[in-house]
């Protein structure tokens, strides 16, 4: 742990933490730029960096953007990222009654608390999970992958799990395109050399999250900044609010960590579950949606605690806990870090390095968030129509820079269109991307597992983790099968 800290204590680290966190806050604050999209675009900027610094930059952008989304949620009532939707429900009414400074401050301190607790959980849980994963065989990896897709589909589309599952299996089907690893047979390539090379994760992600978001934003109106007179709020009084709501802080952190660890689910679901729990258990439920401090703390603590937790399975199982963590996982591979159960053996200080990066990023986020509240208001005033061409250029060049194949630019457009159509019909994007990431791993382990099964069909009964994963899959399907789309399924209402 100390070695990792010493390795990071350089001027480069300080410089990168500051600019990357600030860039993340701006990306998150701008409606239309999500954390996933920001990370996918910024990955291309890290190609020439040293591995640890590149991961540091991306994690700081991730931390900054999840936090930055609270700015626009509170001041514009437009969540900068889906993880801040619940924040807007309480933060915006507070801003309307002149408590914008308190709402922004509470969001900052709650995010810092969640981030620190999540960071500690990462350092405690990751080694244990990596140890456990050392005992994983083909069956376990196959069922873990399938469980990831099924549970992510169920949780990211709670009203209509069928659509979540369809998105997940569509992602698995996309992952099947191109040469497979056992016989180098080009599947679904139809003689096309580009398709034989497969569909790249980064172009697919930039298309599904970036271009589709640009298209969605074209159909929506302009947002207006809150103009109510702002009452100041001291840091001490904000800390007082946090202490008075300590039960919410603890509960939301735990919810954030648990939901974050589940493959593909992520910060937005953690935030909603935590907000829902705070509302149900509150002594003053009537204050919710009218500017409840309890609700705001619950949402922001949970989404920030889920962030480091989402990195845990990415590091130890190579299975991302959220969509932005999936980009981070891809970036790790690009920078020669091999996530998975062997990480503690091959790169023993890496988990500690990630822990310190999260601590640095969380502190930088809080300091800059508190100091730069006023300049960030100017950022929020940039009209969307002047932002779109810049984002579109990055959407085109970012994925192209990785492989320098024009085909990848076509993939961006195709997934942009697909993502737009699916999001209009209320399909979640996270399972689609998770499917693309996990497809290769599930395929290989299924075939290896089948050979083992043919040799000794009873072997699976001696594998308790595989049996547990099968039971989780069945439970998710049975519970999800009972869900019925209801009123919350607003027709063509966009962002998922």
């Amino acid at each position: 742990m100390i070695d990792a800290l010493i390795g990071l204590l350089t001027f480069d680290t300080l410089f990168n933490v500051l600019w990357a966190t600030l860039a993340g806050i701006v990306i998150g604050a701008l409606p239309g730029l999500t954390a996933t999209m920001g990370l996918a675009l910024m990955t291309s900027l890290t190609y020439s960096m040293e591995g640890n610094q590149a991961i540091l930059v991306l994690i700081c952008i991730y931390i900054g953007s999840i936090y930055g989304g609270s700015r626009s949620a509170i001041l514009l009532n437009i969540p900068g990222t889906p993880a801040n939707a619940a924040t807007g429900l309480e933060g915006h009414p507070m801003a309307l009654r002149g408590e914008a400074a308190r709402a922004l401050g509470l969001a900052t301190v709650a995010s810092l608390t969640g981030g620190l607790i999540g960071g500690i959980s990462l350092s405690l849980i990751s080694p244990a999970l990596a140890d456990l994963a050392l005992g994983f065989g083909s069956f376990e990896y196959f069922f873990l992958g399938i469980m990831g897709v099924i549970v992510a589909g169920r949780m990211t589309s709670a009203d209509d799990p069928l659509k979540g599952w369809l998105a997940g299996f569509l992602g698995l089907a996309v992952a099947m395109i191109g040469q497979e690893t056992m016989h180098a047979y080009p599947r679904y390539a139809f003689g096309n050399l580009n398709l034989s090379g497969g569909i790249g994760l980064i172009p697919a992600m930039v298309g599904a999250f970036g271009v589709s978001e640009l298209l969605l934003s074209l159909g929506t109106g302009e947002a207006k900044l809150v103009k109510a007179k702002v009452k100041s709020a001291s840091l001490l009084s904000i800390l007082g609010d946090m202490i008075r709501n300590w039960v919410t802080v603890v509960r939301s952190s735990v919810i954030g960590i648990v939901v974050g660890v589940i493959p593909g689910v992520g910060e937005d679901i953690a935030s909603w579950i935590s907000y829902g729990a705070a509302r149900r258990l509150s002594k003053h439920p009537e204050e919710f949606t009218k500017g409840s401090r309890d609700g705001l703390i619950a949402a922001e603590t949970a989404n920030s605690a889920a962030l480091p937790a989402a990195i845990i399975p990415a590091l130890t199982l190579a299975v991302p806990g959220s969509a932005p963590a999936a980009v981070l996982l891809a970036a790790m591979f690009i920078h020669n870090v091999r996530p998975g159960p062997m990480i503690l053996i091959e790169n023993p200080v890496f988990i500690s390095t990630v822990f310190w990066i999260i601590i640095f990023g969380s502190i930088a986020m809080a300091v800059m968030g508190l100091m730069l509240t006023r300049p960030l208001l100017y950022v929020l005033k940039i009209p969307r129509e002047f932002l779109t061409p810049v984002v579109f250029t990055l959407c085109v060049l970012g994925p192209y820079a990785l492989t320098q194949r024009i085909f990848d630019i076509y993939v961006v457009l195709a997934f942009g269109l697909l993502g737009y159509a699916l999001r209009m019909m209320r399909y979640p994007m996270a399972p689609l991307i998770l499917g693309i990431i996990l497809g290769g791993m599930i395929d290989q382990n299924l075939r290896r597992g089948l050979m083992l099964f043919a040799r000794d069909p009873m072997d699976i009964l001696t594998r308790p983790i595989a049996l547990l994963l099968i039971m989780i899959c069945i439970a998710a399907i049975v519970i999800g099968g009972k869900a019925r789309p209801g009123k919350r399924l607003g027709l063509f209402s966009g962002r998922v």
Binding site: S44, L45, Y47, S48, L162, K163, W165, L166, F169, L170, A173, M176, E180, H183, Y185, R187, Y188, L214, L215, L218, G219, T220, P383, E385, F386, L387, T388, P389, V390, F392, T393, L394, V396, L397, Y400, A401, Q404, I409, Y410, L413, G416, L417, Y420, M425, R426, I442, D443, L446, R447, L450, M451, R484, P485, G486, K487, L489, G490, L491, F492, S493
Partner: protein, 166 residues
């Protein structure tokens, strides 16, 4: 299966999407079953490349069929939010501009393509009415944006990240 209450348009969209998933599933399943097993080369048939694609396409087919059946059994309810008119015109214009720009990449210099995209985009989406000061402000913003998108970002990729532009 219970009757479901949600908007007419979503039911129609679900029906079409379900049919599309059904067709994709059937097509992918047929293609997966026709993939070689490499048994003639001494490979274990359980390592055949088509096994997992066949499983995935069968699941897509099944889920697509469930979506079709559910849509057919659903009862639409009218609500203002659900049946509000869709503002698809700007989306269609944006999509056309993006497609034309992407198809132009590799055929024209990258900066020219992006500058063309920016000009067309601003012409379509920025309001050019109002006072002189407002128009000058918007024009300046458009020029700065075009400079960033068509020159600064490509230059940064070319010279800092050593990417050969398309």
């Amino acid at each position: 299966m219970n009757e479901l209450n949600y908007g007419r348009r979503l039911i129609a969209a679900d029906l079409l999407a379900g049919l599309a998933f059904l067709v994709i599933g059937i097509g992918a399943l047929v293609a997966a079953l026709s993939m070689p097993t490499f048994v003639d080369r001494g490979a274990d048939p359980l390592t055949a490349p088509g096994i997992f694609p066949a499983f995935v396409s069968a699941v897509i087919m099944l889920l697509g069929a469930v979506l079709v059946l559910r849509s057919l059994r659903s009862r639409a309810t009218s609500s203002e939010e659900q049946d509000a008119p869709l503002n698809l015109r700007p989306v269609a214009i944006g999509l056309v501009l993006m497609t034309v720009a992407i198809l132009g990449i590799g055929k024209l210099p990258f900066g020219v393509v992006m500058a063309g995209f920016c000009i067309a985009y601003f012409a379509a989406f920025v309001t050019w009415r109002g006072s002189r000061v407002e128009i000058i402000r918007r024009l300046t913003a458009a020029l700065v944006t075009t400079l960033i998108a068509a020159t600064l970002i490509p230059l940064a990729f070319e010279h800092i990240f050593l990417v050969r532009l398309p």
